[in-house]
Amino acid sequence: MLTRRNFIKLCMSATLAASLSESILPVLRQAQAEKQAEKPPVIWLELGSCTGNSISLQNAVDPGLDEFLSQAIDLKYHWLLNTVQGQDAVDILLDTVHKEAGRFWLVIEGAVMTAANGRVNYVFSNQDKMVTGLQAIEEFAAKAKYVLAVGSCAAFGGPSAAYPNPGGAVGVEKVVRDKPVINIPGCPANSDWITGTMSHLMLYGIPELDSLHRPKLFYGRTIHQLCQRRQLFEDGIFASFPGEAGCLYKVGCKGPTTYADCPLRQWNNHISWPVKAGAPCIGCTSPKFPDSSMPFYEHFPDISTPSTRVSVKKISAAFVALGVGVVGTHLAAGVFSRRIHQHFLDGTKPSDPTPPENLAEVKQELDDLIRRQNALLSETKQLETVAAKEKKSWARRVADFWRTEDKDGK
């Protein structure tokens, strides 16, 4: 059987000509034949979601969903696919939970909706008793062998939790605390990330995770590191509108802070991925997506949420004016209300759900912020240096890079 080391190489390989599942299924078949891996019973529960991740799983190619279901997992319950309906489907679900306790995998798609004590999201009724998604996950997760959060909503809240989060959406981790949750974020998650993580679980157990509990084999590097347009960034050639040739950084690409292997793996059977199609990366695998990366078409030192916008330059100016270490009320307020996101440079730092409660914590956050700000500035400094080496009108290039207004001066 494939060693774990080779398996990871297989998953991370840039030269795979076909979809990941095609390479993995024969290995799984062999392992199952040798009784090293068993077909696990799986419950797929949809909470506050758009079904996009199920659709993405259906997009798995060569072999497709049909073969993955027949040869890799026993998908006992998924209301998108169960032939039976109503109480008969619920009986299958509850039977699996009770009879396969400690063995079954719980896959969650969608955020846990907590508003009105979860009553904004009922998921089934058992003997005429309505059950909320919140209740279901609390009961089932305790008995599951693994809990997988598929898609950014399940992992971190995602679009379902976008400001002002009227449905009280939270990621699965916020509800399931006594058990590690494996996050497979993305909007939606690539089918390879889903099938690849499941295959690793079957063969070798939990894969190596980053601090946000994402498998490193898929989320180990940034889009920016792997991007085909990276050289254009280094050369200071930037697109000024989506669709133009050049690095898309200035039109909002969040590649530098987004951890995923889209540039290598691409989407839908290696057809394309957003930057290849002329569209900036919108950072969909990051915590706090989409708020942390909106406006999608603004370049990323502009920190923005629906209610505020603070640019790096303004922050720096504030520090100069006040002296570093002095807590400006504006900034402190920003940190307090979580408007300034921590994840711009440090995409793998775990997200912290609670706002700072006292001055010391605010100071700590500000220190972190300054540290990251400095890192950001040094990165752009490097860029300036590269640009400066260019003989031809380097000053104009630098000025052009920092220019935030458009051609009309707005």
Partner: protein
């Protein structure tokens, strides 16, 4: 008289709860509930209007591109821009690929399993259905086709990704077109995949739907409902909608559409009274309410949308309104859309501008109307100083699966369930068939604002 609840009604996108009252072996009354609330329109306020396309498509993973197109149309109007001719063709090709994907998956993975014998692995087995009429050989053929359909529908999404960047949730549509450069190799690839999908539709899909219709002719008589049909039209070419907009009341003549006749009721929805600010309070304890879906009405009537409504309004399908008619109309529409896609592909010129650069004005208002796979979809937006001040969405599932309004008028699907014969009240096979013929998707069903008083007609 007994009351039966089915929750979840499986094989559809996101949960649906249905409660029926059975009397003398027939459904006497029905209540349909959408049981999930997320509140996307609340989230839109305060954001950059340019983000509407990418953000609103996150409402629905199965018809993401339809939201992108509706959002894009609203922005076009608000910004006062137009897509380039080739950009419009690309938008159409992306949407067309998504339609093909949706229609194939709806029939083979969701609706068909009500009529054929499935065995083998979960989640398809076990099956509890007392009304399976297909001979084993025929049934096996259809199940084989379903396995093929899984691959073909994935291929349709690959076509989508060729110009959309990825599927679902494309990333390239902007108000003036598509950010993808038009290259000959992409056109070739799309064309090649389209041929494969088209061949499957011609050789398998159409025949399989008609096979089922042949063994279940009684479903041509069931699930008619009001027969009120509505479409906003879709697929623009040179400013004209290839599928025309219109409305037909009681299976009658097709009339033009007037947006000011659209109203919306929250009578039976879990929302509190509206305050002056236009904000809606969640109220899961509201007396008499049973759904998160609101009740849009056209001239006070409950109307349905989808392939059958589009077929009726464009004058291409007039056999009738029923469970089977909806399935057949959807298959026929797939054929039409595949043929259109072929035509658009032929018009694409490599290297032609797929978009143009624009600068959004300070403020603006726009309406974006298109049909999605399952019915009429509308986006209304207003923005000021680069921030959205108001965003409203009325979704197809809002129309089709609406609850009762103030007058007690049932929603279209609730009405379609009335009179359906029930053989076994413990196993409501017939009810599932009626509901699934509408291609329900409750991801998009729930929203929370009033419709603005729109005055414009649909082009």
């Amino acid at each position: 008289m007994t009351r039966q609840v089915v929750f979840p009604v499986t094989r559809m996108h996101e949960p649906l709860r249905v409660e029926v009252e059975v009397q003398n072996g027939r459904v006497a009354d029905a209540w349909i509930s959408g049981t999930m609330f997320r509140g996307f329109e609340f989230m839109m306020v305060g954001r950059d209007p340019r983000d509407a396309v990418l953000f609103t498509q996150r409402i629905c993973g199965i018809c993401s591109s339809a939201h992108a197109v509706a959002g894009g149309l609203a922005l076009e109007q608000a910004f006062g821009v137009q897509p380039t001719p080739d950009g419009q063709l690309l938008i159409n090709l992306i949407l067309a690929a998504d339609f093909l994907q949706n229609h194939l998956r709806h029939f083979y993975l969701l609706a068909m399993l009500d009529y054929v014998t499935v065995d083998g692995m979960p989640p398809f087995a076990p099956q509890k259905n007392w009304d399976l009429r297909l001979p084993k050989a025929v049934s096996d053929t259809l199940v084989d086709h379903a396995k093929k359909a899984v691959q073909v529908s994935a291929k349709a999404h690959s076509m989508f990704a060729l110009f959309g960047g990825k599927a679902p949730m494309q990333q390239t549509i902007i108000p003036t077109g598509v950010s993808h450069i038009i290259e000959s190799d992409r056109i070739m690839a799309y064309s090649s995949m389209l041929k494969e999908v088209l061949a499957f539709i011609e050789e398998a899909y159409i025949a399989d739907v008609l096979t089922i219709a042949q063994y279940y002719p009684d479903y041509y008589e069931l699930g008619a409902g009001y027969g009120n049909l509505l479409s906003y039209g879709m697929f623009l070419e040179a400013g004209e909608r290839i599928f025309p907009a219109g409305v037909a009341i009681g299976k009658g003549a097709v009339a033009g559409l007037s947006l000011s006749d659209i109203t919306e009721s929250t009578h039976a929805s879990w929302y509190g009274d509206q305050t002056g600010s236009g904000e809606m309070q969640l109220n899961p304890d509201k007396e008499g309410a049973y759904s998160w879906v609101k009740a849009p009405r056209y001239q006070g009537l409950a109307v349905e949308g989808g392939p059958l409504a589009r077929g009726w309004i464009s004058g291409e399908y007039h056999r009738g309104v029923s469970v089977m008619d909806r399935l057949v109309a959807r298959a026929k529409e797939s054929l039409k859309i595949a043929a259109l896609a072929e035509k658009w592909l032929g018009k694409l010129a490599p290297g032609a501008p797929a978009f143009q650069v624009y600068t959004p004005p300070e403020r603006g208002e726009g309406i974006g109307l298109t049909d999605s796979m399952r019915g009429a979809l509308g986006h209304w937006l207003a923005y000021e100083n680069g921030r959205i001040t108001r965003y409203q969405i009325i979704t197809p599932t809002g129309w089709n699966f609406s609850p009762r309004d103030e007058k007690g008028l049932r929603g279209p699907v609730e009405e379609a369930l009335i009179g359906i014969p029930v053989k076994d009240p413990e196993n409501l096979v017939e009810i599932g068939r009626v509901i699934r013929s509408f291609d329900p998707c409750f991801s998009c069903a729930v929203h929370a604002f009033e419709v603005p008083s729109a005055r414009e007609g649909v082009k």
